[in-house]
Amino acid sequence: MIEVIKLTLLVNISATLLGMLFGLLLGYQLYFMKSKIKYLLIYLTKTMMGLPPVVLGLVLFMLLKTNGAFGFLHILYQPISLVVAQTLLIIPIVSGNVYQLLVSKGEVLFFTLDMFKLNFINKIKYSLFEFRNDLIFILILGFSRAVSEVGSVMVVGGNIKDHTRIMTTALANLKSQGNYNEALIYGVILLLIAFIVQFGLSLLNKEEDNHENF
């Protein structure tokens, strides 16, 4: 069980951090984009926010299998494939929310910073700092997506014991074997992990409890 918990944490945290990084880049890119396809990409991102994990798992499986487009990587049924699947699930969640955050709050900040002739990189730095509380919340959303999904990791990881088995796939497996008690233990541990991560990240958000006066 310890190995399963360790792999779960490793996969979920890696995928959340990678998803956050790429999601941030994509969200900012969408906001600053001037191209005509901008709105098409926004609709696409928002659609992908609701992408069923099992559908992503299937597509990824077809790409990663030996004769698939990325078969040469040989990562199917490897722990890395779990990280890839969850990262791809988290990216639209992060980018969609970051884009929406910038639309609703970024305009005035960027206009203010433009008055001081800040370069693009510094503007991004300022916005990351100013919106850190919102970004922490988006990070929590990303982690929630990772910790709760089972479809894609089941398809690309195969739920191989001591290799690609994580808590959600183990839970599904135990349930199918009728081992409800152990399955329930996994469920409680998953909830605890979700609570600890959420609580830890919320501590960083010091201003959360001080509501804005409007």
Binding site: V108, F111, T112, L113, D114, M115, E130, E207, N213, F214
Partner: protein, 209 residues
């Protein structure tokens, strides 16, 4: 301060801002008056984003809904000074004048509407820019806050460009006036020549208030 070639056209609404030339009085309170949608705020934004020619070295615009940074009042003040790279010597006095000294450790976003407005005003002043543009700075604030801000504007030797719907107040505190209508400057002048009966549009605005 000279501003020229301020031109902008919104295709969708057919609104056109066209100010070929405008000269602000140095170290005075210049007031820009006009109806809603006449182009006052657009003009300020065009100036601050360098979308027209001018000889102003540094400028700042206090927006109608100004951005308040995260952190305390003090953090906000420090941030604006860092951004503008200017350190004003009588910072304490300015904060005292605006009754912000006691609020320094308070979280800026928890301030009341009037306090936020005073903070944004203090930040504009403390940026120490050559031109300070104020877009409706007296909206939604009590008379006391308004009085504090006006007194400070009068005390400082700065060039202001003020946009306000409060015509009587502008008339009282302003030194030089511009009237903008449908994107064009139609009248300008000092108080004595601006608020005269021959200026029908000015009189209309006064009567409406």
């Amino acid at each position: 301060m000279k501003i020229s070639n301020c031109y902008l056209k919104y295709e969708k609404t057919n609104f056109e801002l066209n100010i070929p030339k405008m000269e602000l009085q140095d170290n005075k309170i210049n007031c820009l008056l006009g109806d809603n949608g006449s182009g006052k705020s657009t003009l300020l934004k065009q100036i601050v984003t360098d979308n027209c020619q001018h000889d102003i070295k540094s400028k700042i615009l206090m927006l109608q809904k100004p951005f308040i940074f995260a952190g305390t009042v003090e953090d906000n003040i420090n941030k604006i000074q860092k951004l503008s790279k200017n350190i004003i010597q009588d910072k304490e006095q300015i904060l005292a004048d605006l009754m912000l000294l006691d609020l320094r450790k308070q979280r800026a976003k928890s301030l009341s509407g009037g306090q936020k407005q005073r903070l944004a005003f203090a930040m504009a002043i403390l940026s120490d820019c050559d031109l300070i543009m104020l877009d409706e700075p007296f909206n939604n604030i009590d008379l006391k806050s308004q009085h504090l801000m006006v007194a400070l504007m009068k005390r400082l030797d700065k060039t202001f460009l003020l946009v306000s719907h409060k015509i009587q107040l502008s008339r009282k505190i302003g030194d030089y006036f511009f009237l903008i209508d449908e994107g064009k400057l139609i009248v300008e002048g000092e108080k004595e020549v601006f608020f005269i009966e021959e200026n029908n549009k000015v009189m209309q605005l006064l009567e409406m208030e």
